[in-house]
């Protein structure tokens, strides 16, 4: 049987190294020995096809999960999931989680002295449509302090987790908001050298998506690894 194509290796500077000393948690959690090169076999070009069957229609509305409305600035985030050839990736699971408007996660380990919001859990999920589009309604998360260094603050962000056509397209990342002054100081945002790659993590304000008298719109596209044209030899 002829081998099938694998997936493309990252463009230089666009994916982080495991050791990133200014983000202190990497210092004891990054491998110290060389990674072993992995050719892409059937075990890697396949992957879980988890998705639509587990997601309810309203799971993408984080403002409608409780009796009351959460505090904060209502926002719509939408965009397309594409591969590196620009083709849409339909039917895949997109999971998100985030802090509330005060910058507090609904999580036992978050000890930040900011109020919890009884009307906000901060969890959402959806499935991309036939053209790769996804959409969430939520509130804009607040910035929050963390213990990485003196006076460290995470810029406002939303965590995204995506599957895709194979285990190699698995992606967990964070989306940021335009104009946030904390981005320049954040070691996680700055974990790759490529400026364009960093800027692609920032959503764009989208006036067309903005709902008058209701919610601000943001557009954020996500790109999953693309396929090699032919099987790679190493």
């Amino acid at each position: 049987m002829t081998d099938k194509p694998g997936y493309r290796r990252p463009q230089a500077g666009t994916q982080p190294d495991y050791l990133h000393p200014t983000y202190q948690s990497t210092n004891l959690r990054s491998p110290s020995k060389p990674l072993v090169y992995l050719p892409h076999s059937l075990s890697e070009i396949t992957g879980p096809t988890i998705g639509a069957e587990h997601v309810a229609e309203k799971d993408n509305d984080l403002t409608a999960q409780h009796d009351g409305e959460p505090l904060g600035e209502r926002i719509i985030i939408h965009g397309r999931v594409l591969d590196e050839d620009g083709l849409p990736v339909p039917g895949i699971l997109v999971e998100i989680w985030q802090a509330n408007a005060a910058g507090r996660y609904n999580h036992a380990r978050d000890l930040h002295d900011a109020p919890l919001d009884p009307n906000f859990t901060g969890t959402g999920r959806t499935v991309t449509d036939a053209d790769g589009w996804y959409q969430f309604q939520t509130i804009k998360p607040g910035a929050y302090p963390w213990g990485n260094h003196h006076n460290a603050w995470r810029p406002a962000h939303i965590h995204f987790s995506l599957f895709g056509p194979s285990i190699l397209t698995r992606l967990v990342t964070q989306m940021y908001f335009p104009g946030d002054p904390l981005l320049a100081y954040d070691p996680i945002y700055n974990c790759v050298p490529d400026t364009s790659a960093k800027e692609r993590l920032i959503a764009a304000f989208d006036l067309e998506k903005t709902i008058p008298s209701y919610a601000l719109g943001y557009r954020w596209d996500i790109v999953l690894r693309g396929r090699e044209a032919t099987p790679m030899e190493k």
Partner: protein, 188 residues
């Protein structure tokens, strides 16, 4: 049009909010075909301290060596009672445990055969990009000819082998960093 894959960032310490709804620590049900295996272990960092905020994801073939995925066009049976996906959090002591079936052998590249194995992704605060490793089974005859194990330095191969204890439970730890026992991770 050529785009570049979105930069990976850490799941952070609060991933449970978004991800635990899809936990799958029992991959097989009572109708799934194959030999039941339980796999347990601990995630530790470069100081040997437990990592209590990690999460594993597992991907594997069924007992016949067939993946539940359209790219797998082998003439082998799918098992309607097996998806092959696990999502396994660790507890306060960094321990995890999941149960599944032992997968069959699957084809490797260039006509080779891969020994039974599970693909494992490791997520945690401090991992800006998830790690990828594999679990093989100690004592499995097919390990000798596995094309990927052959690429791993011989003295490190044992980090990929789950070892059955006296009760038959497979033990396999994830050592994120270390001079001796650091788990082999792959450049994927």
């Amino acid at each position: 049009m050529t785009l570049y894959a979105t930069t990976s960032h850490t799941v952070g310490p609060y991933y449970h909010i978004g991800l635990t709804w899809l936990n799958r620590e029992t991959l097989a049900n009572e109708l799934t075909l194959g030999e039941r295996v339980a796999i347990t272990g601990q995630v530790v960092d470069g100081n040997g301290d437990v990592v209590n905020d990690a999460m594993l994801e597992v991907w594997q073939a069924n007992a016949a060596g067939k993946y539940d995925h359209p790219e797998d066009q082998q003439d082998k049976p799918l098992d309607p009672n097996f998806e092959g996906f696990g999502r396994v959090p660790v507890d306060a002591e960094g321990r995890f445990r999941f149960t599944t079936i032992k997968p069959g052998t699957v084809p490797g590249l260039k006509g080779s055969t891969q020994a039974p194995h599970l693909v494992v992704l490791v997520f945690a605060r401090g991992l800006v990009k998830h790690l990828l490793t594999r679990i093989y089974f100690e004592g499995e005859p097919a390990n000798v000819a596995d094309p990927l194990l052959e690429c791993v330095p011989a003295e490190r191969r044992q980090t990929l082998l789950a070892k059955a204890d006296a009760s038959g439970v497979y033990q396999w730890n994830v050592v994120l960093q270390g001079t001796d026992a650091e788990t082999v991770f792959f450049d994927y």
